[in-house]
C-alpha cells in the first residue's frame, strides 16, 4: 500500500517521499493500461471490439497516481473514458477486454459495454456516459460514507469539457456545503470531443478557473508525471479522510488517439501530438525510476509481464462465448428479472 505523506505537504520531486514500492506499482499500472488500451485499439481494428471505445493512451499517469494513493474501500467514479481507472483499481484485463469485446466473461457480461465499466468489488462504482452525470452521484457516495462514519473517500474523474455542464456546478456546490469526502479530478486533455476546450470555456483553466465559485482551491498538476499526481492525490485524500471536505484538482494531460474509435483526430494542430509524446508519462516515469536507481531489468520485467498478461487475457477473451440470450431480460429489477406486471 501507499506510503503515507503528511496531508497538505507536497514536496518537490524527485526525492524519496514516495518510496520504491509505490513507484513500481505506479509504473506497473501505467504499463498495464498502455498495453491494454493499445490492445483494445488493435482488437477494434480487427473488428473484435464493436460499438465505441474511448482510450486513455497518454493519460495513464493520472489513473496510476490516484489509484496508488487510494486505499481499498475508496471509491472511483469515472466516465466512458474509464478503462484506465478501472484497471488501475485492480479489475482484470481479461474482464475489461471481455467487456469491450461483448463476451460473457466481460465485467458486465456484455450488457454495459466499453462506456460503463464497473467493478464494485474493486471500488469502481461505474463509468458514466452522460457527461457530468456522475459528479452528483459521487457526492452521494461520499455523503453515505460521511453519514455512516466510514472513512472511505470518493474520487470522481472527468474531462475538461465536463466543466461546462450544469451537473458539474450543482455537484461541486453540494460537495462543499455538505463538506463531503470527495475529490473531483479534471483530466484536462485540451479537447471536449473535437473542439478545443479553450474555444468553448469562459476561463483558461476549465476546472481551476471555476474553483473559486465553490470556495475551493484547485492545484494544477502535471498529469504526465505520476509522482506529481500521486502527491496531489495523497494530499486531497488525506484531507477528505480527515473530514476536511472536498477538493478539486486539474491534471494537464493529453490523449494520443482520437476522442473515440471513430475519430482520426485530424482537428489537432500539426506537431501537438508529437510535443506531448515527448513528455510521454511512461517514458518520463521510466527515466525517473532509472535515475532513482531502480534497475532497467526490473522495469523490463514489468513491461514483459504486462504484455504477457494482456496477451493471455486477449486469448481468453477470443475464446470466450458471447453472453447467453437469457441474460437479455435479467437484472432490470432487483428480483432479477424485467417483469413490470402480473
Amino acid at each position: 500500500m501507499a506510503t503515507q505523506t503528511q496531508a497538505g505537504k507536497i514536496p518537490a520531486r524527485p526525492n524519496d517521499d514516495i518510496g520504491r514500492e509505490v513507484r513500481l506499482r505506479m509504473y506497473r499500472t501505467q504499463i498495464e493500461i498502455r498495453e491494454a488500451e493499445q490492445r483494445a485499439y488493435d482488437l477494434f481494428l480487427q473488428n473484435l471490439v464493436k460499438g465505441t471505445s474511448h482510450l486513455s493512451l497518454g493519460q495513464e499517469a493520472v489513473a496510476a497516481g490516484f489509484a496508488a494513493a487510494m486505499q481499498p474501500g475508496d471509491l472511483t467514479f469515472c466516465t466512458y473514458r474509464g478503462h484506465a481507472h478501472t484497471l488501475a483499481r485492480g479489475a482484470s484485463v481479461e474482464k475489461v477486454l471481455g467487456e469491450l469485446m461483448g463476451r460473457d466473461n466481460g465485467l458486465l457480461r456484455g450488457k454495459g459495454g466499453s462506456m460503463h465499466l464497473t467493478s464494485v468489488e474493486h471500488g469502481v462504482m461505474g463509468s458514466y456516459a452522460i457527461v457530468g452525470a456522475h459528479i452528483p452521484i459521487a457526492c452521494g457516495a461520499a455523503w453515505s460514507a460521511q453519514y455512516k462514519g466510514r472513512k472511505d473517500v470518493t474520487v470522481c474523474f472527468f474531462g475538461d469539457g465536463t466543466t461546462n455542464i450544469g451537473a458539474f456546478h450543482e455537484g461541486l456546490n453540494l460537495a462543499v456545503i455538505w463538506n463531503l469526502p470527495v475529490i473531483f479530478v479534471c483530466e484536462n486533455n485540451l479537447y471536449m470531443e473535437y473542439t478545443p476546450i479553450g474555444e468553448v470555456t469562459a476561463v483558461s483553466h476549465p476546472a481551476a478557473g471555476r474553483a473559486g465559485a465553490y470556495g475551493l482551491e484547485c492545484p494544477i498538476v502535471d498529469g504526465q508525471d505520476a509522482d506529481a499526481v500521486y502527491r496531489a492525490a495523497q494530499a486531497a485524500i488525506e484531507k477528505a479522510r480527515a473530514g476536511g471536505g472536498p477538493s478539486l484538482i486539474e491534471c494537464e494531460t493529453y490523449r494520443y488517439s482520437g476522442h473515440s474509435r471513430a475519430d482520426p483526430a485530424k482537428y489537432r494542430p500539426d506537431g501537438e501530438l508529437d510535443r506531448w509524446k515527448q513528455r510521454d508519462p511512461i517514458k518520463l516515469y521510466r527515466s525517473r525510476l532509472l535515475e532513482l536507481g531502480i534497475g532497467e531489468k526490473a522495469l523490463d520485467n514489468i513491461d514483459r509481464e504486462a504484455r504477457r498478461f494482456v496477451d493471455e487475457a486477449t486469448e481468453k477473451c477470443k475464446a470466450a462465448p458471447p453472453p447467453p440470450a437469457d441474460i437479455l431480460l435479467t437484472d432490470v429489477y432487483a428480483d432479477g428479472g424485467s417483469s413490470w406486471r402480473n
Binding site: 460503463h116 464497473t118 458514466y128 452521484i137 453515505s144 460514507a145 432490470v332 432487483a334 413490470w340 406486471r341
Partner: protein, 326 residues
C-alpha cells in the same frame, strides 16, 4: 383509527420508515426547517435530526445524483422533487441513471431509493407547476411508479416504496393534500403492484389514478343513481408493477373499459393499458375502450379553464353513459 389528511400521511409514512431503519435519509428543497412547501414533512427534522433530514440548494440534479450515490453505497434515500414538473431539470437521473445502473452493470449496482413529488393539477398553478407526469417515468424500464389516492395508501405505499430494492417514483397529488381519510394506528405496509377495486360493478370498468380515482368513483355513483348504470371502479395505484390481473379480470366481467387520466392525451398510461387489454382480451370486449383525458394542451392557470381541462365527474359520467348507449 384516526382521521388524517393526505398531507399528514406523507410525514407519517416517512417517519414510520425512518424510525424503522436508520439508513433511511431524506433530502430536498425546504423539506427540513420549513417542513416542506406543502407542509408534508413537518416535524421530521425535529424527530430525526439534521443529518437525516437535509435541506438542499435549488439543484435538482444534485439532489437526484446524491440520492443515487447514497443508494448505491448502502443508504435508502428519499428525495423530494418539489413539483413533478421539475423532473424535467433532472430527468437524466430518472431516465438514464437510476433505472439503467443495475442492468448495465449486470446486477453489480443497486439503486434502492424513493423520489417523492407533488404531481397534478386543480390548484391553479399553471402550465409549469400542474402537470401529471406519470407517463414520463412509466415509460422508462427499471423504474417503479406509484400514485396513491388516499391517506392510508400514502402511508402504506410509502412504506412499500422505501422497502423496495428498486428506484420508486412516488406521486403525491397536490389536489388531494387537504383530503382526509381513516388511517389505522400502528405500522402500515402495503404492496406495490396491487390495484384496488373501490367499487364493484358489472356494466363497465373504469380505471383511474390519484385525483381521478375519487372523481371516477363519484361518476360511478352518479351513473348508478341517475341512469342505473353499474360501473366497477379500479384505483390503479401502481403503474409499475402493474396489476393487469385485477384489470383483466374486471374487464372480463364487465366487457367494457374506460380510463380516466389527468395527463394529456398522447402516450399516457391509459393508452398503454388499453393496448394491453385489447391485445389480451379483445374478444371479451363488447365495445371500444374509451380514454378520458386532459386534452392535448399545456394546463391553463385560470380556474374556469383549468376545471374545464381536467376530467370532471360530469365529463366522466357523460362519456361513459354515451359510450354504453351506442
Amino acid at each position: 383509527m384516526a382521521e388524517l389528511t393526505y398531507r399528514d400521511a406523507v410525514a407519517r409514512g416517512i417517519a414510520q420508515e425512518m424510525q424503522r431503519d436508520p439508513d433511511v435519509v431524506f433530502l430536498g428543497e425546504d423539506i427540513a426547517k420549513a417542513g416542506g412547501v406543502f407542509k408534508t414533512t413537518v416535524g421530521l427534522l425535529e424527530q430525526f435530526g439534521p443529518l437525516r433530514v437535509r435541506d438542499t440548494p435549488i439543484s435538482e440534479q444534485a439532489i437526484m445524483g446524491a440520492a443515487m450515490g447514497a443508494a448505491m453505497t448502502g443508504l435508502k434515500p428519499i428525495a423530494e422533487i418539489m413539483f413533478s414538473d421539475f423532473f424535467a431539470v433532472c430527468f437524466d437521473y430518472l431516465a438514464n441513471q437510476f433505472p439503467k445502473s443495475r442492468y448495465m452493470t449486470a446486477g453489480q449496482v443497486k439503486c434502492p431509493l424513493v423520489v417523492r413529488t407533488a404531481n397534478g393539477a386543480s390548484v391553479r398553478f399553471g402550465a409549469q407547476h400542474s402537470q401529471s407526469v406519470e407517463n414520463w417515468v412509466m415509460m422508462i424500464p427499471g423504474l417503479k411508479v406509484v400514485a396513491p389516492s388516499t391517506p392510508r395508501d400514502v402511508v402504506g405505499l410509502m412504506a412499500a416504496s422505501v422497502r423496495d430494492p428498486d428506484p420508486v417514483i412516488f406521486f403525491e397529488h397536490k389536489g388531494l393534500y387537504a383530503s382526509k381519510g381513516e388511517v389505522p394506528e400502528g405500522e402500515i405496509v402495503d404492496t406495490l403492484g396491487t390495484a384496488r377495486i373501490v367499487r364493484p360493478g358489472k356494466n363497465a370498468t373504469i380505471l383511474a389514478l390519484a385525483l381521478m380515482a375519487p372523481r371516477a368513483l363519484a361518476a360511478a355513483e352518479k351513473l348508478q343513481a341517475e341512469h342505473g348504470i353499474d360501473c366497477e371502479v379500479i384505483d390503479v395505484r401502481s403503474l409499475v408493477p402493474l396489476d393487469m390481473q385485477t384489470i383483466l379480470e374486471s374487464v372480463g366481467r364487465t366487457s367494457r373499459v374506460f380510463t380516466v387520466e389527468e395527463n394529456p392525451r398522447l402516450c399516457g398510461w391509459g393508452g398503454e393499458i388499453v393496448s394491453l387489454i385489447v391485445e389480451e382480451a379483445f374478444f371479451k370486449l363488447d365495445g371500444p375502450p374509451v380514454r378520458i383525458t386532459t386534452p392535448h394542451i399545456p394546463l391553463p392557470a385560470a380556474e374556469g379553464l383549468e376545471d374545464l381541462a381536467l376530467p370532471s365527474v360530469n365529463r366522466i359520467a357523460d362519456t361513459v353513459r354515451k359510450a354504453l348507449e351506442t
